[in-house]
Amino acid sequence: MEYADSWEKVIRKFDKPGKYLGTEYNAYQTKPGTKRFLLCFPDDYIIGMSSLGLHTVGKIIHGHEGFSCERCFAPGPDMEEWMRENSAGLVSLETRTAAREFDVIGFSLQYEMAFTNFLNMLDLAGLRHHRQERGPEDPVIMAGGPSCINPEVLSDFIDMFIIGEAESVLPEVLDTYLSSRGKQDFLSKVTGLKGIYVPGAPAGETECSVYSSLDNRYYPYDHPVALIDIPHSRINIEINRGCRNSCRFCQARSIYAPYREKPPARIMEIARKAVASTGYGEISLTSLSATDHKDLTDIIDDLYYAFRDLGVSVMMSSMRPSGYLGGLSDRLTRLRKSSLTFAPETASERMKRIINKNIKNSDIIEAARTAGLRGYRKIKLYFMVGLPGEEEEDIDAIVDLIREVKKASGINVNTTVSPMIPQPHTPFQWINNVPAEELAGRIQRIKRRAGAKIGMFNEKQHIIESILVRGDRELGKIVLSACKNGARFDQWTEHFDFSAWEAAFRDNGSDWKDWYYRDFGRMEKFPWDHICTGIPKERLRKSYADALGRMTGGRQLRI
């Protein structure tokens, strides 16, 4: 009895062994004689492989002369157990080369709840956590992605951050690596490039990098195609980047400023190549605000006619129904009719002014009615609680809106209510956190009154995430302790272990409450102030002051 491959014998006992094969269609093929870049995603394969950002970075690296890219995802708990028992180190997916053999290891940090996985992967790779303890022969550890907008928490562990959009600066970083003599030389050469933050270099400001042309040069239409079912088993096409609106809780619009659109011809080019290369049967138009694209109806028409005979459907990730009933309602029948998603976030007029979100309830209700008539099966609604100045009326207005959407559409309505987390680089960065049990009470109230299906809210996860997003270098020590205490996959409710975190705070002589209830309003200087997005702090402050001015009158919220 002999296995086809010794790896088969190892992985066949794990949950979803397809995650560990690396034999995907379009998997990266190592080019001989090149520098090797290990692109790591500190979460499960199914999440990482759904990320357009990860595929884009992979395309930039692997397409770069002189570099080959391989991938690596956080091993699942069963795999990690096997690795630790057998002293097997972290390896690449494609060729199963030890991670520490690579020249560069880059992490895609897309959310803070993956920070412990990042540290765990360094450990599994046999590398020291602290950058100062790693030697000149160890790989360069770099990171990019939305979470790097506040790089301080992990800055003791990472040699170099890419802040902002990788397309505009990563090629230059790779070239610099090729022309450098060793790690130190490389790090000193990249210091000062727009979008590059080197924590070991003298303090200075870092400006976000912006890929203004938004052309198709690095579009990963031929990305590796996941072997197993993943949340996004489809082609994601970013049709525009940034957002013209300025909701005050929103960090994405700061990271991806200014607003840019792709012309329809460019979108069609991606779609054609991506269908032929990935073979996916679904195209999703994914952007922060896809409905803002001025040529959206043309784009939908072009895609519909080009692909209907191949059995490829088109869908939109989320819709913003302002002026939506103009052209788009006719197009609804051309989209995949599984569900329509709206994110009104709030429902009362007063709260809309506070958070600066101007979607009309009547537009949403009208859109819901149309969706019902056009044969859609489900509507998804997203709301937020814990907004500044929130009162009972605001919560009840959400309840009313859910009810009206249900009534008008006559179809299934799935509602998600999440607590707002004040984020760096937004006007709400000065807001203090609200006690988690109070947030839970507000969500519960909506659930009770609207009779809606609303997902579970985990108070403890919310606490940790809120602390992480506005953390500083000091917090990095606590994250490391949490990782050592066994915290992993913190984004996954089933794996999240609050006791590992509680102990981590204790180990460092503090308490989570000291962090969660920090007074941000009085903070003069934030840890992330040295990162400059397209929106200066003064403008954020003015916007916050304007929000404060709108919080007048009304009863205090009591649940």
Partner: protein
């Protein structure tokens, strides 16, 4: 008028045998789309490719006799067939593409059973008595067993033999067809 149907025969070995049934079918479908096959969609709010896959192969088993059928709007060009063969994932090899005109649409009605070879580390354990009549061969380190339809489905051979999947390697080597396949009009 009978539908144009392509019956695809393929083998599934490592690494593809580490994928479940649905993932395998999805991978083949992507291959068809890469090759621009003129597939037929089902109706309804979320149309799907009209496809009929044979009984699921247990994850970890390999097979030389997997089949699925797909409805087509037009016949395939040789280029479309070739492109498909090149477009599948590692571990899957397309062995045959037969074009039928066929009434009805379920490949399962045409399949009577399968032949499996179960390999062991040492000598095969004594199988339960009820498995005896299905065993066609017992050799050094392996058992060859036929599995026929029972209660509308096909049992996992290991359930038949009472063996744990971690103690053996299982290969499906052949498919036993019903006569009904001769009712289809072969091109």
């Amino acid at each position: 008028m009978n539908d144009i149907t392509a019956r695809i025969g393929y083998s599934k070995k490592y690494p593809a045998n580490m994928l479940g049934h649905l993932d395998t079918v999805a991978a083949l479908q992507r291959g068809m789309r890469r090759a621009a096959w003129p597939v037929v969609m089902t109706g309804g709010y979320s149309p799907r490719v009209k496809i009929s896959a044979g009984p699921p192969l247990t994850l970890g088993f390999s097979s030389e006799a997997e089949y699925l059928e797909v409805a087509l709007a037009r016949e395939l060009s040789p280029a479309q067939e070739d492109r498909f063969k090149e477009s599948v994932i590692k571990g899957i090899e397309i062995r045959t593409i037969e074009i039928f005109r066929k009434k009805g649409f379920s490949i399962n009605d045409d399949i009577a059973g399968f032949v499996y070879i179960v390999e062991f580390g040492g000598n095969p354990p004594d199988p339960p008595v009820r498995a005896a009549e299905n065993i066609v061969e017992k050799g050094n380190g392996y058992i060859k067993i036929n599995i026929y339809r029972e209660d509308g489905g096909f049992k996992n051979p290991l359930k038949y033999l009472g063996i744990d999947k971690n103690e053996c390697i299982v290969r499906k080597t052949d498919c036993i067809w019903n006569n009904s396949q001769f009712n289809t009009e072969r091109r």
